[in-house]
């Protein structure tokens, strides 16, 4: 598969998949940790103008 240039085509797709996958994973994990941190702080009763993180 991919002929004589497989050694260049396969790494290209692998690097792309890993970079995009890593970027999506990092973004999702950051979102999760920020929501958890917000919930923790608001649970401690620290005042902010709007309390719900989704609605501000």
């Amino acid at each position: 598969m991919f002929g004589p240039h497989a050694a260049y085509i396969i790494p290209s797709y692998l690097v792309t998949a890993l970079t995009i996958g890593g970027l999506v994973f990092w973004t999702l994990m950051t979102h999760r940790s920020r929501l958890a941190e917000l919930a923790k702080l608001e649970k401690q009763g620290i005042a902010r103008r709007a309390r719900n993180p989704e609605n501000g």
Binding site: T19, R34, L38, I46
Partner: protein, 252 residues
């Protein structure tokens, strides 16, 4: 208040961080699904495209390299427009937008460099050449890294926002240099074959998969940009809550 003033006031309200979250959060899953569908279609079309008479199967690398290079520049253009918004109108979401786009732009630029190098070795016989196109894209990557270092180095959010916007605008001079480098200088990199005024110099068997992949990359950028903007707004709220907590502790 006249009609223009009412309109601009409404636009300003529309773009405040709280309204932004209210709109972005339900839209993100749909954008994500559309991106996945476009990637599935684009990859299917790419792997079913015929071999190029000159490039052979390395044309497959073009379907991921060219959109990455386009997005590297598109992302910086979005940052430059946001920088104007940040400096001129002090728009609350403009600085958020620049910061959110930074890691995405850096990733796309890195992908353009790596996949370009992997294509260059079998086609040009070299991994790298210091010609105008390749060098200017490397400079773009360094600019992205520099901007990421800059926001980590400045603690004051107001000074950080202004510095980021100014340096982003200074760096935007590199975008037309990248775009026209193949016309202005004699480079190993081939000139534009899709984004030009005349008919694209590419057979539709390659043009269609390339266009679908470019659309998939663009939707990926939009999705990740919205997600990162949301994360950045949350980071600022966490910071505010921590400052408030410190104030409450001081007052107790």
């Amino acid at each position: 208040m006249n009609e223009t003033a009412i309109k601009s006031s409404s636009l300003w309200d529309f773009a405040n961080p709280t309204r932004f979250l209210g709109i972005a959060s339900p839209v993100i899953p749909w954008l994500g699904a559309l991106t996945a569908a476009l990637f599935a279609a684009g990859l299917w079309m790419s792997f079913n495209a015929p071999e190029d008479y000159q490039q052979g199967q390395t044309v497959l690398i073009m379907f991921i390299h060219v959109p990455a290079a386009w997005l590297a520049m598109f992302c910086y253009s979005v940052m430059s427009v946001s920088a104007i918004g940040s400096l001129v109108w002090r728009h609350p979401l403009a600085d958020v937008s620049i910061r959110a786009a930074l890691p995405i732009g850096a990733a796309f630029t890195l992908l353009a460099l790596v996949t370009g190098s992997l294509w260059g070795k079998p086609m040009w016989g070299t991994w790298w050449v210091w010609d105008a196109r390749l060098t200017s894209v490397l400079v773009l990557f360094i600019v992205y890294l520099g901007l990421m270092a800059l926001i980590r180095a400045i603690e004051d959010p107001v000074i950080a926002a202004r510095s980021l916007a100014i340096v982003t605008l200074v760096g935007s001079i590199n975008i037309p240099i990248i775009k026209f480098s193949v016309d202005w200088w004699n480079t190993l990199h081939q000139p534009a074959s899709v984004s030009r005024f005349a008919r694209p110099a590419m057979d539709t068997a390659f043009l269609y998969p390339l266009m679908v992949m470019a659309l998939a990359y663009t939707m990926l950028f939009l999705t990740l940009h919205l997600m990162n903007m949301r994360n950045e707004i949350y980071r600022r709220r966490i910071r505010t809550l921590r400052v408030n907590a410190a104030r409450q502790a001081e007052g107790a």
